[in-house]
Amino acid sequence: MSSEGESLFGIWAPAGSPWSPWAKPVLFASAGRLERTVTLPATEVGWAREGSVVVVDLPGIMSVAAGVALAAKGHRPVPLYNGVHGAGAGVDQEPLLAALAAGAETLQGMRLPASAPPAFLLDARRFPPGRAAAPGKLDNRWMVFPQDLPSANLLLSHGLRHAVVLREDPLMDDLAHVLRRWQEAGIGIEEKLAKESDPPRPIEVRKPSRYRTAWYRALAILGLGRSDAGGFGMRVPIPAPPSPGGGGGFRGGGFFG
């Protein structure tokens, strides 16, 4: 695996930060030679404040740029990009990797304290609604799940009582599953629209479909499966649903077994 990717991961997920365990390594681990010529666009984050978690859900390099800008405001950016990188990829990860490499140069010079609140970074291109991967392509779409982020209790134990979602497009369903849990546990949720100058405003995250069902993760992946291309490339059959729907097993050494 790429030693350059490992060095990059070390900058984005340093050993001293309590939030580093959540950083997703897949993109870094599969990185080849890194392009550093990308210039990150300026991002206005004057609205960010101490004591808040930020969840950045912007497309590609915009997400990384926001993470670097938030670091300058005292947040610890935590990359949660969980799509695989490889030849024929349906979602091009090269720009994201180049942005991470460019951002690392800025991030490296900062001395963020261990107490810096987290800014979790998502790529809004992860699951293009209604768009399946083309035949022959590598299906590398992905989704975020509640177990990919810290629980509300853990955030509260760090004194983090508010979360701001920075986004452009409507709140994606997978992220709503995370935020609704946080909201129910007493974390106030706000949204900040990246293209508007208005400050963050409180929102009520509605219960997404299949909220808290034991089989949510399976069913969510089922949504990813509506493709004739690869990846899931199919609808997922449900062998033994304990509730309407159902699904296969997950984790524990992989999806299966």
Binding site: S243, G252, G254
Partner: protein
């Protein structure tokens, strides 16, 4: 029977985690607020490992013999709870011929009980745990003088593939590419295969085409005949793949060897014991190690003595375990088993004996791999409750060094 060793210190734990990510493709090292890796290994005395390895080899022999007999007995397939289309295709094996199997891998899950080891199931279709039981076990073992990993199933599997193919053969690693947790397993196996001079290509089932029974990989980054396919995509999902990918060749009428061929689903079904009495194959090891199993129609609802399992469940999901499963989930399992008893099985409950650790007692499961019938290593998982599911942590299984380690 089994014990834990003192936990790694923080620095060692971090070092293991980092090497697991970048050397062993462990890309899901954190789940929620907990590390996916337990801070301590499980330890076996050589005699205990010999016992487990011997039992797993006996179970593997019986499982393969039962599979061979079942392939010729489509009249029994209705007992196994298979999806209709899959069942229809498996029944074509006597007419069209079984696709050749290669590098047959299984994982038998053992639990310590007051009566000795008990096996809860076999993962004979697409068993997972290669990264944890090979690379990570080796990383952990380096911190414990006098202990070694209980084998290396990745090495055993890669060796078996190399034996089954010519030098520089092309191996297709078939999986759900969008799912990182599966991708990591394939990437790790690919490294081991490439180290043996083989070529690899990571693909989804939708990237396969078949010509005269021979598999061809057809995707944007490669168009070439495959010499062998390694499948990490569950058999019961195959009927939902596009027709063009010709999935039935993964079990019948194919000439390209497959590890595991999709007819492995016959023994993956938790309902297999309901067909035992109709088989001529002796199943002495199974009968001795697996708790009594019945159709849900012939067993009490889940209570202190019985549990419910989905016929094709994986990673402990949806198991109706009274006092452990959430009441809502237990009710859902009972309701579905009433409506669809053919999709479930009832099994007599065994009492797992907890293992003491520095952080408290945990329940342990030791998944023993066999590759082509030989014990090849062990995948340890631990959980605070007596149910090993997606919330369990991975724990390296080490054996005190002696002459018995596989």
């Amino acid at each position: 029977m089994i014990a834990s060793l003192p936990p790694l210190d923080d620095a060692a734990r971090e070092a293991v985690r980092r090497r697991a990510i970048f050397d062993c493709c462990k890309w899901d090292p954190q789940v929620g607020d907990a590390s996916a890796l337990a801070p301590f290994p499980l330890a076996l005395e050589p005699r205990a490992w010999d016992e487990l390895a011997g039992a797993a080899e006996a179970l593997a022999r019986e499982t393969l013999a039962a599979e061979a007999e079942l392939l010729a007995r489509p009249d029994l397939h209705g007992r196994l709870g298979l999806p209709r289309e899959l069942r229809r295709r498996v029944a074509e094996v006597p007419r069209l011929g079984a696709t050749p199997g290669a590098a047959r891998v299984m994982r038998f899950d053992f639990h310590p009980t007051a009566e000795g080891w008990r096996v809860s199931e076999v993962n004979s279709d697409v068993p997972g745990g290669f990264i944890e039981s090979s690379g990570i076990a080796r990383l952990v073992a380096a911190h414990y003088a006098g202990f070694a990993p209980a084998g290396d199933p990745t090495r055993a599997l890669a060796d078996a593939v190399a034996r089954a193919t010519a030098p520089k053969a092309l191996v297709g690693l078939v999986h759900a590419t969008a799912y990182t947790d599966d991708r990591q397993v394939m990437a790790y196996l690919a490294k081991a295969l490439e180290a043996r001079g083989l070529r690899t290509c990571l693909v989804s089932p939708a990237h396969l085409r078949w010509e005269d029974g021979r598999a061809r990989i057809a995707c944007d980054w490669l168009d070439a005949p495959a010499d062998l396919l390694l499948r990490f995509f569950p058999a019961e999902w195959l009927p939902e793949t596009p027709a063009a990918c010709g999935w039935p060749h993964l079990l019948r009428g194919g000439r390209t060897p497959v590890g595991n061929p999709a007819y492995a689903i016959l023994t993956q079904s938790k309902r297999l014991p309901l067909a035992w009495d109709a088989l001529e194959t002796p199943l002495d090891a199974w009968r001795a190690l697996l708790p009594e199993t019945r159709s849900p129609r012939d067993a009490p609802a889940p209570d202190g003595a019985w549990i419910l399992k989905p016929a094709l469940g994986r990673v402990g999901e949806a198991i109706g375990l009274y006092g452990v499963a959430e009441p809502k989930e237990l009710r859902a399992a009972v309701r579905d088993a009433r409506w669809h008893p053919g999709r479930w099985v009832s099994q007599r409950r065994f009492e797992s004996v907890p293992v003491e650790t520095a952080a408290g007692a945990v329940h342990a499961c030791v998944g023993v791999f066999t590759v082509d019938g030989r014990a090849a290593g062990a995948y340890g998982r631990v959980a605070p409750r007596p149910l090993i599911d997606g919330r369990a942590q991975d724990a390296a299984v080490l054996v005190r060094e002696g002459s018995h380690v596989v």
